[in-house]
């Protein structure tokens, strides 16, 4: 299946001279939930804004469902719904009117049944006649999601959807995202909360300083995440790993003082007990031991630091 969004060699330099994106290549698969992870100012919002038509690209192209977002903007944008990061709503409009407005703006004929469904799904139905300025921040966030869903988009962008959102709304939002995915909608969300990416995404992309430094299946990342390391501080220096222990994924440090054993923490048999027994039998003593786990957070922090 061709990618639903295809970003090719996309660069953006703002008028101030700030280069927000550097030759980004990225394919989003149809029907996936893709999390774009990165610190503040990494270029997440710029990337989304270019795809959605709010910012002009400096170089490169973006195809949305095969349509160039600049040349064929009408076809491309009709497929896309955007929930921006900032809470920007009209103060005086009612919930119903503002959501209906969005549907019309995106070229769809009125469909009160759909609007009603969207509002009910987002627990906004009881507020449909309320003016936006009377709503809480969380409710406004829901309204912005409702607006983005009003025209039944095939691709949904959520820019920092859970920034400043309470637990209940966050849970609702995640449920909604999963329900949308089940109907075939592709969802791209940006976040700097790693647990959110972990919880939601099928694939994760890490962006930093305008560069996409990693794109990987979450399962792959979780695999790395699930791996633990046992580090043994040896009593005596070791030249080689003894023949008897060659069956284990062991690594000896350069100074011969540390033995590192990598294992899957989630498996039933970690093999630690057998390893320690065999070490004893081989006459290798150790004075200390510790286990460590690489989290997505570590991976992320390392990646970002490496490039800094």
């Amino acid at each position: 299946m061709p990618p639903i969004i295809s970003v090719n060699q996309l660069s953006k330099t703002y008028a101030s001279g700030f280069q927000a994106l550097k030759q980004i290549d990225l394919d989003i698969r149809q029907g996936e939930i893709f999390a774009l992870l990165g610190p503040n100012g990494a270029g997440k919002t710029t990337l989304i804004s270019i795809i959605c038509g709010i910012v002009n690209p400096s170089k490169g192209t973006v195809l949305a469902d095969g349509h160039d977002v600049v040349r064929d903007y009408r076809a491309a944008r009709a497929k896309i719904g955007l929930v921006p990061q900032e809470l920007t709503t009209d103060a005086f409009e009612t919930v119903w009117n503002t959501v209906s407005f969005s549907r019309g703006l995106f070229g769809r004929s009125a469909n009160p049944a759909h609007i009603e469904k969207v509002l009910r799904d987002l627990s906004l139905w009881s507020k449909k006649d309320s003016r936006l300025m009377t709503l809480s921040g969380g409710m406004k966030r829901r309204v912005m999601i409702a607006k983005a869903l009003s025209h039944e988009p095939q691709i949904l962008f959520l820019d920092e959807p859970t920034a400043g959102v309470d637990v209940e709304l966050r849970r609702d939002m995640w449920a909604m995202v999963r329900a949308l995915r089940a109907t075939g909608v592709t969802i791209i969300l940006t976040t700097h909360y790693i647990d959110e990416a972990e919880e939601m995404a099928d694939r994760i992309g890490v962006i930093n300083k305008g560069e996409l430094i990693l794109v990987e299946d979450k399962a792959e990342l979780m695999n790395k995440l699930g791996r633990k390391q046992l580090t043994l501080q040896l009593q005596n220096r070791l030249e080689n790993i003894p023949q008897a222990l060659s069956g284990y994924p062991l690594e000896l440090s350069a100074d011969g003082q540390q033995l590192v054993y990598t294992f899957d923490a989630q498996s039933e048999h970690t093999g630690i007990d057998v390893l320690l027994r065999q070490l004893g039998e081989a006459g290798i003593d150790f004075k200390d031991l510790r286990t460590s786990q690489s989290s997505l957070e570590d991976i992320f922090v390392n990646l970002v630091r490496e490039r800094a």
């Binding site: 038509g53 709010i54 903007y73 896309i80 921006p84 009209d90 549907r103 703006l105 070229g107 769809r108």
Partner: protein
């Protein structure tokens, strides 16, 4: 053509008009009525007729134009400035709408509103002074053309302005003086020859002159020149709007 989008923007803007009815319609009507009371009924009674038209009736077209100009500009400039200011413009920019559709929605609504207003003012004026309209179709044509042109002009100001002060600047410092000096309250023939020449550089003169001609068949400049100059200004505004969307000026980074 995204008709739904034009309708959505137009409907949104008109809803704003009805919501702010007092400010949108009532206050210009009241201020115009005051002009009629002061200039038409009180002072006008002591003035001689101009070009055979009583002073009260003479100022009717000028006053309607004055409201039409200022309201078209303020409606349209505010209509596009406000979404920029609060940030809701993101939705317009990310929607599958062409520049033409955006302009049709915003400018169409602003022009509709000022035309409604112009007609209300005409009806109000009739309560104070008797007047007649010799060429009603021309009158409507001028009303439409002026509302459209100045709504476009207002739209440009709304995009250009990046704070509230700028939003008021052009209407206050340029448009209002031009409108007052454009022959709303006098015939330019009443000016000394030098100022008559100067006045020809004021585009509002052509609007008011043409509009007044549609009422009484008398004008400061010929009808053809009036229509021509208005169309030139309309074309200039269209060109500027076209450039704005092409370059993304003040809309897109």
């Amino acid at each position: 053509m995204n008709i739904h989008a034009i309708r959505a923007i137009y409907g949104f803007e008109m809803a704003r008009t009805w919501r702010t009815l007092l400010q949108s319609i009532v206050s210009p009507v009241i201020s115009t009525s005051l002009y009629f009371v002061v200039f038409g009924a009180a002072i006008g009674a002591h003035m001689t007729a101009i070009d055979g038209v009583s002073y009260g009736a003479f100022i009717v077209p000028g006053l309607v134009m004055l409201s039409l100009l200022t309201q078209s500009i303020s409606n349209a400039s505010f209509g596009i400035y406000f979404p920029k200011f609060v940030g809701t413009i993101y939705e317009i920019l990310s929607a599958p709408v062409s520049p033409f559709e955006i302009v049709a929605g915003y400018v169409g609504a602003a022009a509709s509103k000022s035309i409604i207003l112009g007609l209300i003012i005409l009806v109000t004026a009739r309560l104070f002074v008797p007047f007649h309209i010799e060429h009603p179709l021309w009158m409507l044509a001028f009303l439409l053309l002026t509302a459209l042109t100045f709504s476009l002009f207002g739209f440009i100001i709304g995009i250009w302005a990046d704070n509230f002060e700028k939003l008021q600047l052009v209407p206050l410092l340029i448009v209002t003086p031009l409108a007052f000096l454009g022959g709303s309250f006098y015939s330019t023939h009443m000016l000394p020859p030098f100022w008559q020449k100067v006045t020809l550089f004021n585009p509002v003169v052509y609007l008011i002159s043409g509009f007044r001609w549609s009422f009484y068949g008398v004008s400061d400049v010929s009808l053809g020149v009036s229509v021509g100059m208005t169309l030139v200004f309309l074309a200039a505004c269209l060109a500027l709007v076209w450039w704005i969307f092409r370059s993304g000026y003040r809309l897109k980074a």
